[in-house]
């Protein structure tokens, strides 16, 4: 009898041991979607799933659009299933917190003049993870509206053969806060990454190239960071407008050529930093209008048409310890007035000397040539660029500045390139 009760307890205990650790798994179930199984549509699985469930979508083609997710779910693509929207509308539409979408190929959203159809739309959500998806032939790629936090990582977004008017943005952030956008590759869209009315974005390590308009377009957004991104061959480069406290560092801006193309366009930017970036072969590396208190430091500006074009509406900006190397023009401005500060930069065009050998040139450097002022007024005169006449003009002006800004001068030009 006693033995029996011990056995009974032992049995109960072992049952407990088996079932307690097992219970969390029974809480969240796993649903499998496949072309040949009992569930063949992703929407069907989403409807069946309980909050917190995981849906595994097996390799295959799923012709679906407007897949609505209104509960926390994890959707995983196994061996890259293809979701084909057949040009009908938005494909994944997420309206819940804690949603993960990973490992999908998504193709053919709808296109419209009035509706922003996207491959992945996320609205008023937080703690989402959109990772390792490949988007192809989409109108908008990943569209975040009124979200907080969340991560968009290592996705590939592309579109092609399209007129600008009919292409949307790769990663579009509207009225969103503190999203992390990292390691994505975007090409062929209108703007690679677009941020409007954002706050505290972290945009790091992305490559945005050959987009129709801007590689990154950043508007009305305060307190963001973008670092270690590559912006290459975009129609108009990168535009950062009407924002403050933006930290832009360690980025590469290269090969942005065209009459209205810039490495970096700054319009109405305040209290921001631009550090350790490389600007290589752009029509205008940095263009600044109505911007103030921007620290531009330790950047390399090499082989650009104009390294800096700063409008007189810009004030109290500091250019320190930058390398200006072999640019056609170092600095251009539109007025003899200047309220910006240049100090301790290295200018490859500097012809001064350093008799006291302290590494600082003994005569100041004037980066604005008279000819660059002339081209500001009449761009056609560029044809005279390498002529003797222009050389004489510039030399005369350098000796006795009349038209170029007297205060736009680097009093301490470095003799050697800053490492």
């Amino acid at each position: 009898m006693k033995n029996l009760s011990i056995l009974h307890y032992a049995l109960k205990l072992s049952l407990l041991l088996i079932f307690i650790p097992a219970s969390p798994q029974t809480l969240f179930s796993q649903i499998i979607v496949s072309e040949t199984g009992s569930i063949t549509f992703i929407q069907e699985a989403v409807d069946l799933a309980a909050p917190g469930d995981t849906i595994e979508v097996e390799s295959g083609t799923y012709k679906e659009w407007n897949i609505e997710i209104r509960k926390p779910l994890t959707l995983i693509g196994i061996d890259r299933p293809l979701v084909d929207g057949e040009g009908e509308g938005t494909i994944f539409s997420i309206h819940a917190d804690d949603v993960t979408l990973k490992g999908f190929d998504i193709r053919r959203t709808g296109r419209s003049y009035v509706r922003d159809y996207a491959a992945i739309l996320i609205v008023e959500s937080t703690r989402f993870l959109i990772e390792d998806n490949r988007l192809d032939d989409v109108f908008f790629g990943i569209y975040l509206a009124e979200t907080t936090g969340g991560v968009v990582r290592s996705n590939r977004i592309e579109a092609y053969d399209l007129r600008e008017a009919s292409s949307g943005n790769g990663i579009h952030l509207w009225n969103s806060k503190e999203a992390t956008i990292e390691g994505n590759f975007i090409t062929g869209m209108r703007d690679g990454i677009y941020v409007e009315f954002g706050e505290g974005m972290k945009i790091n390590g992305n490559t945005s190239e050959a987009n129709n308009r801007y590689g990154l377009h950043y508007m009305f957004s305060d307190g963001g960071i973008y670092q270690r991104n590559t912006f290459r061959k975009n129609g108009a480069g990168v535009a950062v407008m009407y924002s403050e406290n933006v930290d832009m560092s360690h980025n590469l801006f290269e090969h942005n050529w065209g009459t209205s193309s810039y490495g970096l366009l700054l319009k109405d930017i305040r209290n921001s930093t631009i550090e350790y970036n490389r600007f290589y072969r752009n029509t205008i590396a940095i263009y600044s209008e109505s911007s103030s208190n921007v620290m531009i430091r330790r950047n390399d500006l090499e082989l650009n048409g104009w390294a800096v074009n700063i409008k007189s509406s810009s004030a109290r900006n500091h250019f320190e310890e930058n390398n200006f190397i072999e640019n056609s023009f170092d600095v251009r401005t539109d007025s003899p007035r200047n309220n910006n500060h240049f100090e301790r930069n290295y200018w490859s065009a500097y012809e001064g000397y350093d008799l006291d050998r302290d590494g600082i040139g003994d005569v100041p450097y004037r980066p604005v040539t008279l000819f660059s002022m002339v081209t500001e007024r009449s761009p056609e005169s560029l044809i005279l660029m390498r002529s003797m006449f222009v050389r004489i003009l510039n030399t005369a002006e350098r000796i006795a500045p009349v038209l170029t800004p007297k205060t736009l001068v680097d009093e301490k030009p470095k003799m050697t390139r800053i490492q």
Binding site: Y113, V114, D116, R163, E164, A165, N175, R190, E196, F197, E199, N212, R213, Y214, M219, F220, S221, D222, G235, A236, A239, M241, Y242, S243, E244, G258, T259, S260, L265, K267, D268, Y287, E289, S290
Partner: protein, 163 residues
């Protein structure tokens, strides 16, 4: 008699005179820049323009940028005319004062004030039925731009970042 004899000359003069009248210029999408915000213009259905008396065209990526330019021009500046595109037929230019505007959150414009222009009130009403929003005149558009963009510290656009 004179008229008959010199018909050709009169026609030539008439043609020259009409040619002098400034006309809206075509907008080069993907290459023209907004004269106010400097953005590249990419949407024909929002691209607006101002013509000065010399016939020079200043192009804008949105109705709101044109209105801001209009507002910030000094008093001595006289424009010849201001033009906005018909949202339903963007190839057609409408004089800014005659157009009817819809401000709708659903129809997002390049600079965030979400203004679209229509040739008639009925046409604007129709769009309002479908997309919501409110119908405004050009004078009200200017008031809106003044309130949202130009008031506050200088060109402070940062103040309207919450909808």
């Amino acid at each position: 008699m004179w008229v008959r004899r010199h018909k050709v000359i009169l026609i030539v003069i008439a043609v020259i005179m009409t040619a002098c009248e400034p006309k809206p210029q075509p907008v080069e999408l993907g290459s023209d820049q907004c004269s106010y915000c400097r953005m590249m213009i990419t949407d024909r259905e929002f691209a607006s323009q101002v013509l000065n008396n010399q016939g020079r065209s200043f192009k804008f990526d949105s109705v709101e940028c044109m209105a801001a330019y209009d507002l910030s021009a000094d008093e001595t500046t006289e424009f010849h005319s201001l033009w906005v595109p018909d949202f339903k037929d963007p190839e057609t230019w409408l004089p800014s004062e005659e157009a009817i505007y819809l401000k709708s959150k659903t129809l997002r414009s390049p600079m965030g004030l979400n203004l679209t222009a229509y040739s008639t009130r009925e046409s604007a009403e129709e769009m309002k039925q479908e997309y919501g929003g409110e119908i405004v005149s050009y004078a009200e558009v200017k008031e809106l731009v003044k309130r949202e963009w130009l008031n506050g510290s200088g060109n402070n656009h940062g103040s309207h970042n919450h909808h």
